[in-house]
């Protein structure tokens, strides 16, 4: 009986140890000035596109876990009134200030990366405007000067996130929004 307890104790200690190593040995590569762009332009009409150059992205290189956060007020449009309308009437950034992606890089292994870009699948969820949507896409990864460079894109639709497009501008805003990203993740 006493043996049994010891075994259990050892097992628990061992497990705790494993998790602790996980915690303290966690390798996060971070970019605090990541680049995100979205485009919803229609030909012949005023461009509907914006760039955010202060996106945070974090990659756990042990697990392939990936997360990214963009403050929606950080998106810059060419037409400043369009930017105001985007924030107030479309994305409602006072109520929903953040866009967050959380996901996994499938079969990610840091040691496989080189300066040659490789395509890797990403699977995760994008949360914005109080809604969440599954996003699956491919990104290219390469290792440059010790940093992990991630480039790619995906498509979403405003209706995925309950963003209402009024009929008056329906023809001027593309049904599909193309999001492109560029992160330079440093250890």
């Amino acid at each position: 009986m006493k043996n049994m307890k010891t075994v259990q104790l050892v097992a628990i200690l061992f497990m705790t140890g494993v998790f602790a190593t996980h915690l303290y040995g966690q390798n996060n590569y971070v970019d605090k000035a990541g680049y995100l762009k979205f485009e919803a332009s229609e030909k012949l009409f005023e461009p509907v596109e914006a760039v955010n150059k202060s996106v945070t992205a974090v990659l756990n290189t042990d697990t392939g876990e990936f997360a990214s956060l963009a403050l929606v007020v950080g998106f810059r449009f060419e037409n400043s009134l369009m930017e105001e309308h985007f924030n107030e009437n479309y994305i409602e950034s006072e109520t929903y200030p953040k866009a967050i992606f959380r996901g996994m890089l499938i079969d990610f292994d840091l040691s496989n990366l080189s300066d040659e870009p490789v395509e890797i699948a990403v699977d995760g969820k994008l949360a914005l405007h109080g809604k969440e949507k599954e996003v699956k896409t491919m990104v290219s990864l390469q290792k440059l000067n010790g940093a992990v460079v991630m480039k790619g894109g995906f498509t979403v639709t405003p209706s995925d996130f309950a963003i209402e497009i009024p009929s008056i501008v329906k023809n001027k805003i593309a049904r599909e929004v193309l999001v492109s990203l560029n992160f330079n993740l440093k250890p």
């Binding site: 602790a20 996060n28 945070t56 200030p97 008056i168």
Partner: protein, 284 residues
């Protein structure tokens, strides 16, 4: 003992698991001390300038119309047969400095304008946006034949105005406009050339795309013999992505500040008012 240990282990696992889950912890704070979004979306509330500025590098072309009095009824199609037009070019040297040049068919007035933002309202900071708006006007309709001895100075007018706005919430904004203006020539002999007006206006959003706007100018030293009236205007803003269309009714037909404050002839009480609109086109 066993139970206790298991519990501790569970807690450890939970806490560790939690710490691992959120990669973004420590990065997800939202800055709170930020500038508030503009109190008004149009460069004008209705007749009065708003604290809205053109953004750096943008050129605005604003076309404004005030039709004839609706009082004329169907004969003039409620004033649509006659219109006063103002064409206005505005350019932003910086986000806080706008210059402009306009021509109005009312008295063939050319106007140059300078709008400077002095302070900007912050979410957890200064409670108002304050803008200084200044104009020089040139009345080119005055005729030497009718007014012998007319000199160039007589054609000039000036406006100095403070615009103080507050965005109370995402739907409701108010603005106060203490105004001084001076016309070197006034049509009413008893009227002082230097005139003072306290203007106030507001905007209330009804839906995401529509807001109702109003402004009013309280003239402080209008001559008792003056036929002119204080301007009261109500209108709507229709907002789409990047554009604002303004439609309104007002009892002043002129669109320059000196004009609608000093020479508005309409009278709401007797159904004598004007329909108008402001349209703008942005060039980046």
């Amino acid at each position: 003992m066993q139970l206790k240990l298991s519990l501790i282990a569970c807690l450890l696992v939970i806490s560790v698991g939690h710490a691992q889950e959120d990669l973004l912890s420590g990065f997800d704070s939202v800055p709170t001390n930020t500038f508030k979004s503009a109190a008004f979306k149009g460069l004008k509330i209705v007749n009065f300038e708003s604290t809205k500025m053109v953004s750096k590098g943008e050129l605005y072309f604003v076309v404004s119309h005030r039709f004839g009095s609706v009082k004329t009824g169907i004969e003039d199609f409620f004033g649509l047969d006659q219109a006063v037009t103002r064409l206005n070019f505005l350019y932003a040297i910086s986000d806080g400095i706008n210059i402009g040049l306009s021509r109005s068919s009312f008295q063939k007035i050319y106007e140059s304008s300078l709008k400077v933002r002095l302070v900007r309202e912050k979410a957890n900071g200064f409670p108002f946006t304050i803008v200084s708006s200044n104009n020089i006007l040139l009345n080119t309709a005055l005729d030497d034949d009718v007014l012998p001895g007319l000199s160039f100075e007589n054609r000039l007018g000036y406006t100095v105005q403070l615009l103080i706005s507050k965005r109370f919430n995402k739907n409701f904004s108010l603005q106060l406009m203490p105004t001084f203006f001076h016309d070197n020539l006034v049509s009413v002999a008893e009227q002082e050339n230097s005139q003072y007006v306290l203007g106030f206006g507001g905007r209330h959003k009804l839906t995401k795309r529509f807001s109702i706007n109003f402004d009013y100018g309280l003239h402080m030293n209008r001559a008792s013999s003056s036929p002119f009236k204080n301007p009261l205007s109500v209108g709507i803003d229709i907002e789409t992505g990047g554009h604002v269309f303004q439609l309104h009714f007002t009892n002043a037909q002129p669109m320059n500040t000196n004009g609608f404050l000093g020479q508005g002839t309409g009278d709401w009480g007797s159904g004598d008012f004007f329909f108008g609109f402001n349209l703008s086109r942005v060039f980046n």
